[in-house]
């Protein structure tokens, strides 16, 4: 479904991604783990077209998208929940969700999806008229995921959904992520620092170090890998 072929991305003169190759098949959850500054967020920003790669190719459904504008990429069905959630702070919860469906015109289905989201996260229904900035961290993460779901993505990019949340909330969020993958067959690209949790949730994983992919395998194998254990699982 998504193929990153040899992409190189730069921030000014900083070479952030070096010959990165990643492949995502439809319906799976893949995870990209790595330390701070390894290039995980940059990978997602390159896919979304915010920081386009300088060389290499990104294919989505066999179509090169690396020169597309971010809004065109969203229109193709790739949505991102960025690190730090980025809720529009002065828009209400409802308006934030509306923004998620920005490119959609099928009003009836939007309404249905909205009800579905309020079933998934009843707290958002309660707070629908509240400005997004007044929600707690966990609620904001729920809103951020819901906002992305409102676009009916084919591929959902999640950047550090567990960041700064209480363990209980993290578990709830990850249950929802698996549910999204199971129920609507949405493909998920999960970036996480919490490697243990990420590897237990995903089907396949990539390990990134200093802008390079060092290792890739099924997550069962990665969980047993000595190097991964030492570096990322603290064992």
């Amino acid at each position: 479904m998504l193929k990153l072929k040899n992409i190189n991305t730069f921030y000014g003169n900083i070479h952030a991604l070096k010959d990165v190759d990643i492949e995502v098949t439809e319906g799976e959850i893949i995870t990209l783990i790595g330390a701070n500054g390894a290039g995980k967020t940059t990978t997602l920003m390159s896919i979304s077209g915010i920081v386009p790669p300088r060389s290499g190719e990104i294919l989505f459904m066999d179509k090169a998208i690396n020169h597309f504008r971010p809004d065109t990429i969203v229109a193709l069905g790739i949505c991102q929940v960025p690190e730090g959630r980025h809720i529009f702070p002065y828009l209400t919860v409802m308006e934030n969700l509306d923004m998620g469906a920005f490119l959609r015109t099928d009003k009836d289905n939007i309404k249905k999806d909205l009800e579905h989201i309020f079933d998934l996260f009843p707290i958002l229904a309660q707070r629908r008229h509240q400005p997004g900035g007044t929600l707690s961290g966990g609620e904001q993460q729920m809103l951020a995921i819901s906002r992305a779901l409102m676009a009916r993505p084919k591929l959902l990019l999640l950047d550090e959904p567990s960041l700064g949340l209480a363990p209980l909330v993290v578990r709830q969020i990850f249950e929802i992520i698996e549910k999204i993958n199971n129920e609507s067959n949405t493909t998920i690209f999960l970036v996480e620092q919490n490697a243990n949790l990420a590897l237990k949730t995903a089907h396949r994983g990539y390990v990134m170090e200093n802008g390079r992919i060092m290792l890739t395998d099924a997550t069962e194998n990665l969980l047993l890998d000595e190097n991964v254990k030492k570096a990322y699982l603290g064992m």
Binding site: S48, G49, I50, R69, P70, D71, V74, A75, C79, Q80, P82, H86, F88, P89, Y90, L91, E95, D98, M99, G100, F102, L103, R147, A151
Partner: protein, 300 residues
């Protein structure tokens, strides 16, 4: 009491014109954090467009109201086109440059447009036909507020209501607010940010043109320099209300207009600017973000 009322309504009129211009400053600042110094010139170009259209239409012998409407519409379209083009030429290429560059580009654009009108027209004040008629039924109250001022107040109110509706409830309005709050995130939900920025310039310029036509018709004279002076005042009003905030720009403009009007009426017209800017200094001392401004903490 009557004198007070007269000054009050005069201040509101003046303030509402400032508001029409100040909205352009504040909306553009809200979205791309740029003080568009060429905005006053857009207002001036609106007035000149109306003058040209009105002069031509007068030759055809159209009635006053028809001329007013047609001249305003043409001015709005022309100014919007200018605002759109200025952004494309002078600001868009500098979107990722450091912040000083677009600011200097804006000042350059302002000087360029002034001189362009100076060359195309003249440096002298040109008489502007009084397009707003004196309504007979209003004669009884005209010592408190004249017909022209009344029309200005009503028009501005209608325009503000339309703008509020646009910003609050339409798709483009939501996209504008989202872009102002978090530009990258707006892109990630599929907003074409370039389109939103262009739209902001178009709306701001159109509002300024409405202000330009109304005030030119009321005062009766224009030249290439009116945009600079009105621009500075409206910019002051936008800062006073809290730059980036739409209700702030309107409130700041009304406060500024009233202050000037009362200063003129009770002290002397020589001191109106002193009072206006003293008020600005005072408000910025006690509320640095402006009356309704949000104080934002810069992330380092």
């Amino acid at each position: 009491m009557e004198y007070f009322l007269e000054l009050f309504l005069g201040g509101l009129t003046r303030g509402s014109i400032y508001a029409l211009i100040a909205l352009g400053y504040t909306m553009v600042y809200g979205i791309i954090e740029l003080i568009n110094f060429a905005h006053g010139e857009i207002y001036m170009i609106g007035a000149f467009t109306a003058l040209i259209v009105a002069s031509v239409l007068t030759l055809f012998g159209l009635n006053q109201i028809a001329i007013l409407v047609l001249a305003s519409i043409t001015a709005v379209i022309y100014s919007a086109a200018y605002g759109f083009t200025v952004e494309k030429i002078a600001y868009k290429p500098l979107r990722h440059a450091q912040r000083l560059s677009p600011l200097i580009s804006a000042i350059g654009m302002s000087i360029f447009l002034q001189n362009y009108v100076l060359l195309a027209q003249t440096s002298d004040f040109l008489p502007f036909p009084s397009l707003i008629p004196d309504f007979e039924f209003w004669e009884a109250y005209s010592h408190i507020i004249g017909s022209a001022e009344l029309v200005i107040l009503i028009t501005t109110t209608i325009v503000m209501i339309l703008l509020t509706f646009l910003i609050k409830f339409t798709k483009i309005g939501k996209a504008m607010r989202a872009t102002a709050q978090d530009r990258n995130m707006a892109m990630l939900v599929g907003v074409n940010v370039n389109q939103v920025i262009s739209m902001t310039f178009i709306i701001g310029s159109a509002l300024a043109a409405v202000g330009g036509v109304l005030i030119a018709s009321h005062i009766g004279m224009i030249n290439f320099y009116i945009g600079f002076i009105a621009g500075i005042k409206a910019f002051t009003a936008a800062v006073l209300g809290g730059i980036g905030s739409i209700p702030g720009a309107v409130l700041g403009s009304l406060v500024l207009g009233l202050t000037e009007s009362f200063a003129t009426g009770y002290v002397s017209s020589d001191y109106e600017d002193v009072f206006a800017f003293a008020l600005l200094v005072l408000i910025l001392i006690f509320r640095p973000a402006g009356i309704l401004g949000r104080s934002t903490t810069q992330k380092v």
